[in-house]
Amino acid sequence: MSLLQVEDLEAGYGLLKAVRGISFSVEEGERIALVGANGAGKTTLLRCLAGAHQPSAGRVSFDGADVTSAPAYKRVASGVAMVPEGRRLFQALTVRENLQVAAENGRPGPWDVARVTEAFPMLEPLLDRRASTLSGGQQQAAAIARSLMTNPRLLLLDEVSLGLSPVAVQSVYDSLEGLDRSRATLILVEQDLTRALAFADRVLCMLEGRVVLEGAANSLTREQVTQAYFGLRQAAGGS
Amino acid sequence: MSAGAEVNAAPDRPRYRVQRWSRSSLTSLGFVLVGLVLLVSVPITLNDNAVEQFTSLLLFVILAGMWNALAGYGGLVSVGQQGFIGIGAYATIWLTQHGVQPYLAMVLAAGVAAALSLPISALVLQLRGGQFAIGTWVVAAVLGILVTLDSSLGGGTGTSLTALNGYGQSTRLRYTYWLTLAFTIVVFGLSWWLLRSRFGAALQAIRDDEEAAASVGVRVLPLKLVLFVLAAFGCGAAGAMILANTLFIQPQSIFGVQWTAYMIFMVLVGGLGTFEGPILGAVIYFGLQYYFADQGAWYFVGLGVVAILFALLLPRGLWSLVEERTQVRLLPVGYRLTREGSGRRRAG
């Protein structure tokens, strides 16, 4: 049984449809990259998986249970956690408090402050600093660490490289690489195609709310992905 | 008929025209004009008691319209408009004490309220949301206290508009009515003009998302100021006319927060943010207070409960129900998108 099963999911904002009938499944331990241009619906899809957005049709099943209408905080209890776009740390709280809050409201499990600083060493000296004083890269590490403190089985990451320097992005991906697969299955929304293909096992490319290309990362060529990304047809170019 | 602009002139796409006036809105304009003529003739055709009741009704219409201008158009929830009502009333007293003809004093008093709103705005307009609400409430309370402390204005025991003693009752009621009607037409005319002008779109933008509006160049503060001054003028006018209608006022009641309660009720029930809603709300409120005001505290409890229910369940008021069914607008304040070549319309 797949860890996550999505069937015919549709979601939008008022009359605007962002996700138009998406189906896929994710096995435990997999690393999936969700790519696509801005406005393709990636973030909306991720938010539906996290419980932060209500889909208008379709089904989301996690670990066999239907969670389609479960609110976000309940999904955390089931084991789904999302690192939102823009990090969204609790600015007036310290890094340690950000981590504590997640630990106190998440699932019981092995992640604690010590383990998390092992995975993200840069956080060690920052623990008692206010979140608002951190740089972009530090905030990103802290945000991922915070989600990990809820002991998720499925971790959703929305655009972790956004607004970060290449060095910071590399550091984040190194830490993600180091995560134990048996502990956390990952779905990343990522703009950077190269990174996505290098990191993930499987890639889903979205365009205008639909999945237009899906496959194992090492079997897809860059050209295929680029074309799907921009909505170009294989045969004759042009719309 | 239109003063429209052509949009979407690509050959294989349907063409649309942007219109302000449509057939139905011209019809309703006709009704409005007829209605106005009838209203003007009320003192001639109806008896004294009816004239007084109509004056009350028009006062409620003004108050509802002004509160709606602030909250519905500008997103400013004021709990302190009674401050301007009181200013209008007491300025009239003061002016007549200094020899000004009473009806002229009433007009000037509305101007005084508008003038005073400028320094007051410097204090409160920087506030938002609930802070603005309580800030205006404090200002109104301060004004009430200041008046109470001034014995020349009658102090806490109240005062009468003795300058109207020289008029016969019928004459007084007529002039009061016509001046109230004139004020109603002026403030609603100004509101309508504001909505139709480029202010109107800007106001909508501010109401929907103030920061986003500011980021595209909408000058938020001047627009709010215009609304604030307009509402002060209207409430000041209402205050002066309340005095003319009842002849005796006391600071606690004329500066009392119950005026805000009435205004909120009327606007919520009628329709927040619509042009016609406040008028509907005022008519309903007039009916309710005519029959139930003697129930004392229970009457107010009822008002409060109804207001809460409308705010939670039908925030756009009863007019929104009418609008959805019939697409009726009293006067056109928006734009309509019409397809060229067909008689069909889509509302803008």
Partner: protein, 291 residues
């Protein structure tokens, strides 16, 4: 009365204003709602205490043992029935519903209890009249000391709660960003319910102290709301201790104004508030965010 005595009186009154204000401030910080019925809730609490005192002959502080739980239940219903729904409606709706609620509470009280003025002082005869003469000029009333102690204790407790307990941390996180709080497993509604409970309880306590010190009637709620708000603004949004200083400043201003002429007491407080608004600090407050 000397200046020193005035200031002592003002500080004591101010402590109670701070107690009244902290609930308003908390609700605003956590839910972004200014509860226009806050003052009336405090008065409702006073009336509840009064009813218990009147029927059972107990002292007000003992009566709180019954009144507080009742108020907490009412607060829970308030949160569930009105505040939570209002949040979904947008910016204006909470103001409109809480104002409606204020009118309803005031007039229900008026209907049930008549406009007569009451006081809880007769039910705490020794507490409300005892005082120390610290010097020949300064007299410190017991009720004043109790009020200040209660205020500091509650504010201190609240501060500790917010910063040292998991529930408190969850509340601060929700105040910062309710959506993201849900993403780390916090149930926003539960947080809101707790915040409302705290606000209602502290308002009831403050209302009781005010009712012992002075009188109350159904219309006192509006004035108390304004005092609470003024204390928050003068002290600066965002810190509980700031609210204490704000309350004290307000109390002292009122004491000084009242000394010049009893009619000027409340006016003096308003003037201080308006002066703070007009100052550069006012601009900061206007755009500031709480807690």
């Amino acid at each position: 009365m000397t200046w020193a005595n005035l200031i002592v009186q003002g500080v004591m009154l101010g402590g109670i204003y701070a107690l009244l204000a902290c609930g308003l401030s908390l609700l605003f910080g956590v839910m972004r709602i200014i509860n226009l019925a806050h003052g009336d809730i405090a008065v409702l609490g006073s009336y509840l205490v009064y009813v218990v005192c009147d029927h059972l002959g107990w002292s007000p502080f003992l009566a709180l043992v019954i009144a507080l739980p009742v108020m907490l239940v009412l607060g829970y219903l308030l949160q569930l029935g009105i505040l939570d729904r209002s949040l979904r409606g947008g910016q204006l709706v909470p103001l409109l519903t809480t104002f409606g609620l204020a009118i309803v509470i005031q007039n229900l009280l008026l209907q049930v209890f008549s406009p007569d003025v009451h006081s809880l002082a007769p039910y705490a005869p020794w507490i409300s009249t005892a005082s120390w003469n610290v010097t020949s000029q300064i007299s410190v009333p017991l009720i004043g000391v109790l009020g200040l102690v209660a205020a500091v204790a509650v504010l201190g407790g609240l501060q500790a709660f917010l910063h040292r307990t998991p529930l408190g941390r969850a509340m601060r996180a929700t105040a910062q960003d309710a959506d993201t709080a849900a993403l780390v497993g916090i149930h926003p509604k539960a947080v809101y319910a707790r915040a409302t409970a705290i606000a209602v309880a502290t308002a009831t306590l403050a209302g009781t102290f005010l009712a012992i010190r002075a009188t109350f009637d159904p219309s006192s709620g509006s004035t108390q709301l304004i005092f609470a708000f003024e204390a928050v603004v003068i002290g600066g949004l965002g810190s509980l201790w700031g609210t204490l200083w704000g309350g004290i400043a307000l109390g002292v201003a009122q004491a000084i104004g009242g000394h010049i002429d009893p009619q000027y007491a409340i006016l003096a407080g308003h003037i201080l508030f308006l002066a703070v608004l007009a100052s550069p600090r006012g601009r900061v407050i206007a755009h500031g965010v709480a807690a």
